[in-house]
Amino acid sequence: MSWYALLFGPDGWSGLLLKGALVTIALALTTVPFGFGAGLLLAVLKMSPSRALRAACDAYTTFFRGIPDLLALFLVYFGLQALIDKAGRLLGLSGHFELSAFVAGVIALSVVAAAYSSEVWIASLAAVPPGQGEAAKSLGLSRPQVFILVTLPQLARVALPGLGNIWMVLMKDTSLISTLAVTDLLRAASEASRATTRPLVFYSAATALYLAFSLVSNLAQTWLERRANRGYA
């Protein structure tokens, strides 16, 4: 069968590949607020006067930047499930709460993204002059207003390139979830290639889709950076 028929013919696999692509995008997008948000929190905590808190945060980032992301995924998927089961037993429950592989993927990728992005956030927090916050407060802005209207835009300008980099890695790391029987783009391509014994057709199609995502991400990042750099030479 020609590659066109394999993909778009009546028995074509393009539907499955697109469904997988949606799972990949969903996983990556769901991870962003949790991962980058937790990273920002981690960065702020690392500036805490408490030595114990700083040490704990450093230990966290060292751990999750030091192990393979796949291992982190397995630790979350199997470890968290075991913890949930144990907690359930300790509380005397007979129901069974199942941690879906997608949720485990979100948690694991967020945990790793938090570790990596905290370093980016720390650098960007240092780049915002403290005078900005003081001036904003003296104008009568509340704490959240100061953060959202004054600090965050200046933070974003410095943090965007680094965060954009982490986003690209995150998008590719979503393929790790294929090891947990979740049909993401990579797993869809591998299932199709195994059923038809035509790996190159489907892996090329998956490549094209991943590159399309990267292209869109790049465009979005350029637009965001241009916006963040308004008013700067």
Partner: protein, 269 residues
């Protein structure tokens, strides 16, 4: 100052999280009762055509799927199928991700320590497969010394190779169809798999390979045949399954379904 606020917010969040967990616990707490089976989730490793594979729409199809659907009709339950990688299929059953495994799993003593099996519902001999260019039928351990033989990991085939072919280089693959694909690519000298899986692949690949020899399966490695695996506490589901198997044998529907797919008799004993 901001840090102190954050830390106290963190504490509040922890307390709220704990309360939420207790709330969730209250929801999950249910009195233990005898299970009435309305829906049965079946775990399958869909990399084993023609028994189970994934089609272009992402559905799991194959003889075992059709057989399972027929049995579920007779058991008066709704069956759903979940794709699960072979290596983790028994732990997943025990962890409760599904209620039974029906994935061409051989009944063997080590597995019986973890799960309980139904009556065997098919028996197909294992075979050696080689490239079409290999005309020899010699599969003695001596002649296989130094050859690369591939098969699926955690299978009776793998156990057999490891026990009887210590001189060969054994390569294990996560999927059931991968060894044959690698054989067709020329990366392996032989593979070991089920006769039907081999002939199906050879047909689909337009004769890339041939069945070199049939293996006389030792009982302690291969067991009496293929069965469905259940958790040890689900004896009632297992009994329902066995009853449905017997019914299908008796009224000839097993033979009708098998004849639709296969040219040889797979029922075994």
């Amino acid at each position: 100052m901001a840090i102190a606020r954050l830390v106290s917010a963190f504490r509040a969040a922890t307390i709220m999280g704990g309360l939420a967990a207790l709330g969730l616990a209250a929801l999950l707490a249910a009195p233990a009762q005898a299970k009435e089976w309305k829906t049965v989730r079946i775990g399958i490793d869909a990399t084993y055509p023609p028994f189970e594979s994934v089609n272009a729409k992402g559905e799991i199809v194959g003889w075992e799927v059709d057989y399972a659907n027929e049995l579920c009709k007779r058991m008066k339950v709704t069956c759903t199928f979940q794709n699960q990688d072979w290596d983790g299929i028994i732990p997943a059953l025990i962890a409760g991700k599904f209620d039974m495994i029906m994935s061409s799993m051989s009944i063997t003593p080590p597995r019986q320590k973890l799960v309980d099996f139904s009556v065997p519902y098919y028996f197909i001999p294992p075979v050696f497969v080689g490239p079409a260019s290999n005309k020899s039928n010699d599969v003695t351990s001596a002649s296989m010394k130094g050859k690369t033989i591939g098969t699926q990991s955690s299978t009776t085939f793998a156990n057999y190779l490891e026990k009887f072919y210590p001189g060969a280089e054994i390569k294990l693959y996560p999927g059931g169809d991968e060894p044959q694909i690698e054989l067709a690519n020329g990366r392996l000298d032989y593979t070991v798999t089920s006769l039907i899986v081999a002939t199906t692949f050879i047909e689909k690949s337009n004769g890339c390979c041939r069945v070199v020899a049939q293996i006389d399966p030792p009982l302690d490695i291969f067991g009496p045949g293929t069965g469905s695996a259940f958790r040890k506490e689900d004896a009632d589901l297992r009994a329902m399954f066995d009853k449905a198997v017997a019914e299908m044998d008796a009224d000839g529907s097993y033979k009708a379904l098998a004849d639709k797919y296969f040219k040889i008799n797979i029922r075994g004993k």
